[in-house]
Amino acid sequence: MSVLLVIAGAVIGAPLRYLTDRAVQKRHDSAFPWGTISVNVVGSLILGVVAGASTASALPHQVQLVVGTGLCGALTTYSTFSYETLRLYEDGGRFLAVANVAVSIVAGLGSVFLGVAISQAIWP
C-alpha cells in the first residue's frame, strides 16, 4: 500500500520536473540551469510545508507518502544538479559551476525553512 502511494506521487513529480525544466529553459538563453533550480526550490518548499504539518500531526501519513516521498522526491533531483555542475565546470567555466552549487543550496535550504515556517504559522 505504501509503495503504491509513493508511485502515485512519483508518476506526477517526475514528468512535472521535465515539463517545468523545459518551460523554464525555453525562456532564457544561457546555459545556467534555472529549470533544475526551479524544481528543486519548489519541491523543497512543498516538502517543508508537509514536514511542518506532519510534526503538528495535521497530515495523515498517507499524504506524507504521496506528496513528500513520491511527488517532492521525484520532482526534485540531485543527479541532474550534479551532472549540470560538472558540465558547467567543463563547458562554461568555474564561476557558473560554483554559482550553481551556491544558488541551489541557498535557495533550496531557504525554501525548506520557509515551508516549515508556513506550516508552523498555520498549525501552531
Partner: protein, 157 residues
C-alpha cells in the same frame, strides 16, 4: 570568462533532462512516449529510494546516511549514463528520459536533502548538518566526475 578552457566532451549537454541547445530539433519520439517513460522511470526510482530509506532508517538527530548514499550513487550512475547515451547509444531516444530523467531523477532527491539539514538544525545538531551538507555536495560531484571521466576514457578506447 575562461574560454581558453577546453571542454573534454562538447557533444554532451549541460542539462541531462532538457537541453534545447543540444537536442536535435526534429523529435522522432512524441511527447506522450517521453512523458510516459519519465513517469514509469520516476516511479521505479522513487520506490527504490523509499525502500532503501525503510531498510536503513535515520534516527532523529543522526547523520542521514541513506539519503547521502542514494544521492551519491545516483550521481555516479548519471555520469555513466550520459556518456553512454551521448557517445554510444545516440539513436536510442527514450533511454535518457527513462533512465536519466525518470529513474535517476526519481531516485535522487534534493528536497529530502534540504529537509534533512533543516531537521538537524532544528534538533540542535548544526555540526552534523554542516558536515552532511558538505559531504553530499562533495560526494555527488566527485562521483559524477569520476564516472563520467572513466566512462569517456573507456568509450574512447
Amino acid at each position: 570568462m575562461q574560454h581558453e578552457r577546453t571542454d573534454p566532451a562538447p557533444w554532451e549537454p549541460v542539462d541531462p533532462d532538457v537541453d534545447l541547445r543540444h537536442d536535435r530539433p526534429v523529435r522522432r519520439t512524441g511527447d506522450t512516449a517521453v512523458l510516459t517513460v519519465i513517469a514509469a522511470g520516476g516511479a521505479i526510482g522513487a520506490v527504490a529510494r523509499y525502500l532503501v530509506g525503510q531498510a536503513w532508517p535515520t534516527p532523529t538527530g543522526s547523520f542521514p546516511w541513506a539519503t547521502l548514499v542514494i544521492n551519491v550513487v545516483g550521481c555516479g550512475l548519471i555520469g555513466i549514463l550520459m556518456v553512454v547515451v551521448s557517445e554510444v547509444l545516440t539513436q536510442q531516444r527514450l533511454i535518457r528520459p527513462f533512465l536519466g530523467t525518470g529513474v535517476l531523477g526519481g531516485f535522487t532527491t534534493f528536497s529530502t536533502y534540504a529537509l534533512d539539514i533543516q531537521q538537524l538544525i532544528a534538533n540542535r545538531h548544526p555540526g552534523t548538518a554542516l558536515l552532511y551538507l558538505g559531504a553530499t555536495v562533495a560526494g555527488a560531484l566527485i562521483a559524477v566526475w569520476a564516472t563520467a571521466t572513466t566512462t569517456r576514457a573507456l568509450v574512447a578506447r
